[in-house]
């Protein structure tokens, strides 16, 4: 797949504070990538650099082959962004907000505003001032604003902040569907890791101003999950601390945790258990995005999280 964004050795400081250093990053065209990291890791600064609204100190940045520092407007024409603050005009109605940004981005399609209001379920509230919108409505309006000019790249900084579970589900499933239908490349910054796991094709972990790791979930699992723990709901009660040579322990009642060398050992474990006991559920406990995220952080800078 074609590389859309390429970053090599990027560095950026504000005064004496070094915010980004030696950042190396790749995004393929059409993928959804999660940019993960703690507060202050440099995610927002990185997105601003990619959009050419601030200038890097050193390093190479190319977005669709263009340098953001030189061809910023060209990149911003093909980019849509949802910032953390949403950047909406509270004294204008939802529809007026979209009409204004449509004018600013040179959107000629008259039906685009109406279409997006409809799509994001804002038609009923289109004449209400954006300042009177609920957080969820404001986020949806900001997303509609970012999609007005049908961008090729979508930058989303905490797009689900403040949304209720229904809102989160709605926004994320829409993004996935939009990506599949249009091939738009999407970069999402978020803290809510389990939400991203469902929709992202790959992940980049930003830590202390640099990309500590990047890859698909399978690649990351391969690299970081040395011992796979699976929690099995079963009547089996281990007399010793191991079964078929795999260490195990009772977590609670019928829940037993087994430490396996990899997921390939799961069928053998289950076959062994089923010979004597029923199995009600099997849940891998440490190969999800959140577990890998902490593993990456632990490896990168020694922070220990459970």
């Amino acid at each position: 797949m074609e590389t859309l964004i390429e970053v090599n050795g990027l560095a950026k400081s504000f005064g004496k504070q070094l915010v980004l250093k030696n950042v190396n990053f790749r995004v393929k065209k059409g993928e959804i990538i999660g940019l993960l990291g703690p507060n202050g890791a440099g995610k927002t600064t990185f997105i601003r650099l990619l959009n050419g609204v601030i200038k890097s100190d050193s390093g190479l940045v190319r977005v669709k082959g263009l340098d953001p520092a030189q061809n910023g407007d060209e990149i911003r024409k093909i980019s849509g962004i949802v910032t953390e603050s949403a950047g909406l005009y509270h004294q204008l109605s939802g529809k007026e907000n979209l009409e204004f940004f449509a004018g600013l981005y040179g959107v000629k399609d008259k039906g685009r505003v109406e279409g997006l209001l409809e799509l994001f379920d804002l038609k009923e509230h289109q004449h209400k001032q954006a300042g009177k919108y609920s957080t969820g409505m404001r986020k949806r309006l900001a997303l509609a604003k970012a999609l007005l000019h049908k961008p090729e790249i979508l930058f989303l900084d905490e797009p689900t902040n403040g949304l209720d579970p229904d809102g989160i589900e709605q926004v994320l499933s829409y993004l996935k569907k939009y990506n599949e239908e249009t091939g738009t490349t999407i970069i999402i910054c978020s803290h809510v890791l389990h939400q991203l796991e469902k929709i992202c094709d790959s992940f980049a972990f930003i830590e202390q101003g640099t990309i500590a790791e990047q890859g698909t979930l399978a690649e990351l699992e391969e690299k970081y999950v040395e011992v796979l723990t699976v929690n099995v709901n079963t009547t089996f009660q281990p007399a010793q601390g191991e079964f078929l040579g795999y260490p195990c322990r009772i977590i609670s009642g019928n829940m037993v945790a087994f430490d396996l060398p990899s997921k390939h050992a799961i069928p053998e474990l289950l076959q062994g258990l089923l010979q004597t006991d029923p199995i009600f559920s099997v849940i891998p406990a440490n190969n999800d995005l959140q577990s890998i995220y902490f593993q990456v952080r632990r490896k990168f800078n020694g922070i220990v999280h459970q």
Partner: protein, 275 residues
Amino acid sequence: MESFISKALVKKDLTDIVRSKTLLITMIAIPILFTVLFPALLMGSALFFDLEEIAGEDGRKLVSVFAGSSMGSAVSAYSLEQQMTYIFINYMLPTLFLLVPIITAMTVAANSFVGEKERRTLESLLFAPVSIHKLFLSKVAASFIPPFLVSIISFLVCGIIINVLGYPLFRELIFPSANWIVLITCLSPMVILLVVLVNIVISSKVKTYQEAQNIGGVIVLPVVGMLVGQISGLFLLGVGLILIISLGVLLVNLMLWHRISKHNDRFALFEKQIH
């Protein structure tokens, strides 16, 4: 050819001004004070009270300075009370009137960039594919239109009040004089543009609207100086002087405009204003 301004931005800013209670109140209250209350008070006083007695010795001195000047012939046929009224209407009031476009332009322009920053919308503008000089020039246009319209409307309302209340005293229409005509066609637009340009530059550099207003407020001082100069009899603001001042302000405006047109540093603006 690409346009110099973004129509969408100008339209949005104008809507914004109309919907902002603070800005709207300033744009209504200031003209009422300077172009309705002041002339109405003077003309009413001339009609119902003895203006000579109210003005006292200082007033008579001012009239004698004026009568002795090159502009004295215009009032030679008038009574002392008519002369006092005429001088106030055509020489003092235009200076006061200038405060209308100045204060309204200052209020609107000072809000232009820092207002966006305070409402956290400047980031959205800087992320849009709009050049910085286009952004500045659109802000200039949006900040120029309201005070310009306010000054025209104020001029018309002021004229109606002066003529309606002044007719019983003069038995003729004394408004607009040549002074007023050059003021509204030359000096007022130039001064509005100057205030807008200066305040927009200030607004793009400061942290808060309050700070922008405090710094931008300095621009009122030359007008106060003009008023003091006239009241003290130091100089009288005739047509020639108004034209010369307009030309001077035009030159300053051209320099500022040239500088703003060249301004294209998105990085500096973003790093200074967005956190």
